[in-house]
Structures are given as C-alpha cells and as structure tokens.
C-alpha cells in the first residue's frame, strides 16, 4: 500500500470511529486505537499518540459549546484536573516502559470496563436538599446550571474520593492514550453526585486538559508520527461532528447495542493479541 492510499484508508476508518464514538458516547479515542492496531498492524504506541491528539481536537470542540451555554463548572473541572493531569503524566511515563503486549491487554480490559460503565444506569439522582461536602464548599464547587425551568442549584459531595477516582482516570488516560471520559463521569456523577448534564460538560473540558498532560510526553518520546496523526485526528474530528448532528435523527438505542457488542469483541481481540493468542 502506498502512502496516500494508506492515509486515506486511515482517515476513513477514523471518521467511522469518531462517528460511532459520538453516537454511543464513548469518544473516538478508545475506538480508533484498537482499529489501528488490529486492522493496520500499527504499533500500539503510535496508535495511542494519534488517538490522544484526536481526543484533544474533539473535546475542545465539544467543551467550547458547553462552556458557552454555562453548563460546565470550571471550578470543579480545574480542581479535579490537578488529579487527572498528575495521573496522566505518571501513566504516560509508564506507557513508555511497558511492553506492547502488556499495553494491549490493559487496553482491552479498560475498553471492556468502559463498555460496562456505559451500560450502567444513568438515572438522574434526586438532588435532595442535603448539604455539600464541607471541603467542596471551601473550594467553592457547588454551582447552578441552566434548565428549561431556570437556573437550578446543585450540591457537590465526597470530594476526596472523587479526586482519587480522577487520579485513576488520569493514569488510564496517559497509559492508554484515551480520553477516559467514562471514568471521569463515574467520579463526578456516581461519587460526587453532580447532575449528569454538568458532569458530561465538565468532563469534556477536563478530557482535553488531561490528554494534553500525557501527549507532551508522547511527543517527546516520538510517538506522534505526523503521517498517522493527521489522518486520524482529521477523520475523528469530522466523524464526531457528523455524529453530533446525527444524534437527533439516528435510531440511537439500536446502534448503541450493535456498536457496544462490536467494541466488546474488539476489546477481547486486544486482550488475546496481547496474550499472544492469534485467531
């Protein structure tokens, strides 16, 4: 295969990854890496580097829209970014020394966990009249967000456990070159009991910042090959944009089931590949 053909086929695959990612809410990064590794035989670290750049591109676009609408909470995002960025630097350093096979296995397991998390219930928890965690109050985290019924106030709970979970999300992001949005959502939604809308918006703001912390290390180590990063990031960006447009018209529930099954199979393949089993 020649270079232009290679770049075009990668861009097309990346476009589908971005499209699927935004339709099922997983993000393109976690889908594109296995496709590059399994489908094109690309070294997992190059794939991770390209995926991380695409994560920064898509999350910057999405986060901007949320910021403008006043839904995301910058104070929550920035204080938790302390945990995610430090974790990401550690994770990225670990990624540079771990063997490819080990990374493959960890990637597959994390992908399965991501699928499981996205199947979990997303019922909006009742925002009772309870009080926020005193530390969260001290950090000025409780806020309000616009709803059709006007501004709604919310409380913020269990800051320390949430912060620690964010550290884990950061490590995974740096180690695997993913946005780890699903893990960030767990920390904010399940642990800190922040309203889901605020959680997803703030998570988008954080994903780009977290990814930037690890991508600096990938860059210095030479895992960003321009000839791979360009088609991947452009493809995912366009795919994610189209996906966001399609969300309102596509049969999301059916697509989600189909793609989640596909992604699970891909995850298993990654684990098998890392274990040296070939199918």
């Amino acid at each position: 295969m020649t270079d232009p053909l290679f770049a075009i086929s990668i861009a097309v695959v990346a476009l589908f990854a971005g499209l699927i990612g935004s339709l099922i809410g997983l993000g393109g990064g976690v889908i594109i890496t296995p496709l590059l590794v399994l489908g094109f035989g690309i070294d997992i670290r190059y794939a991770m580097g390209a995926a991380l750049v695409s994560v920064i591109a898509t999350s910057s676009g999405a986060a901007a829209a949320y910021l403008r609408d006043g839904i995301s909470n910058m104070r929550i995002g920035l204080s938790l970014c302390v945990a995610t960025t430090i974790g990401a630097v550690g994770g990225a350093m670990a990624a540079t020394v771990l063997p490819q096979n080990t990374l493959s296995i960890i990637f597959g397991v994390a992908l399965l966990a991501t699928v499981a998390l996205s199947l979990g219930s997303k019922k909006p928890k009742a925002q009772s009249e309870d009080k926020s965690d005193p530390l969260a109050v001290k950090l000025n985290l409780p806020g309000s967000f616009p709803t059709p019924q006007g501004m709604q106030k919310y409380t913020v709970h269990r800051f320390i456990p949430g912060f620690l979970m964010m550290g884990v999300a950061g490590i995974l992001s740096g180690l695997l070159g993913i946005g780890s949005g699903a893990f960030k959502v767990v920390a904010m939604d399940q642990i800190m009991r922040i309203p889901f809308k605020v959680t997803t918006a703030t998570s988008n703001f954080m994903i780009g910042v977290t990814a930037a912390a690890s991508v600096g290390i990938y860059l210095k180590r030479g895992y960003l090959d321009p000839a791979l990063v360009a088609p991947v990031s452009l493809g995912v960006l366009v795919g994610a944009f189209l996906g966001a447009r399609l969300l309102s018209v596509a049969p999301v529930r059916i697509l989600k089931t189909i793609f989640l099954v596909m992604v699970s199979l891909i995850a298993v393949q990654m684990i098998l590949r890392g274990s040296g089993v070939s199918l």
């Binding site: 094109f40 591109a57 910057s60 930037a212 600096g216 960003l224 321009p226 452009l234």
Partner: protein
C-alpha cells in the same frame, strides 16, 4: 471579569484554535502526500521518531525548506503542536481570569495544573 466572560473567551479560543490547527494539518497532509506518492508508510514497527521536531522554530524552518521534501510533514507537526497548545492556553487563560477576579484560590489551582502541563511538554 465575570465567570461568564472567562467562559465565553475560553470557548472562542478553543473553537478558533481547533479550526486553525485543523486547516494547517489538512494542508500539511495534502502537501506531504503529494510529495510522497508511491512511498510505503513506515509506522508498522515502533522506533523513536527522528528528532526533527524538538523545537518549534526548527520545525517551521524545516517545513518550508525546499531541500528537505521528506520533512514536509513538519507542517503537520506545526498544526498538531498548535492543537496541543489549545488546552494549555485554556488553563493559562483561566488562571489569568481568576487572577483578574482576585480569586487567589483558583488562580493557584489553575497555575498548578498549568505547571503540570508545562512540565510534561518541556521537562
């Protein structure tokens, strides 16, 4: 400066940054591919990249040098680095905004995140 003002400034910087870097990456990729027809891709085996993008200035110089066709992809790298700077600028602007608000607590928190990012890129 109110929170709303900081947020709308950040939003504009983010969208503008993504669009500009996307255009540079697309342009660089097109140019690179046009000069590389028939060359097989070399990403299949991991090996550290040649150190031709370690400085931003060197990258730009090489991108536009007529003697080094093989390093046209430096243009792509310029676009990529611009994209990567986006979150860093985002955090830096937030720090400046909180400073203007005299919110020292969040000025310090943003500065800490900013320091981690700068460390990862330059340390």
């Amino acid at each position: 400066m109110t929170d709303e003002k900081i947020q709308s400034l950040l939003a504009r910087v983010m969208v503008g940054g993504v669009i500009i870097s996307g255009i540079i990456i697309l342009g660089g990729l097109t140019w690179y591919l046009a000069t590389h027809i028939g060359v097989p891709p070399g990403d299949h085996v991991f090996s550290g990249e040649p150190k031709f993008f370690e400085t931003f200035g060197g990258m730009i110089r090489r991108a536009f040098s007529w003697h080094e066709i093989g390093e046209r992809r430096s243009i792509i790298m310029v676009g990529i680095v611009l994209l990567l700077l986006n979150p860093i600028v985002r955090v830096g602007l937030a720090a400046a905004g909180f400073f203007a608000q005299r919110d020292w607590q969040y000025c310090a928190i943003s500065a800490l995140v900013f320091a981690v990012l700068v460390f990862s890129f330059f340390a």
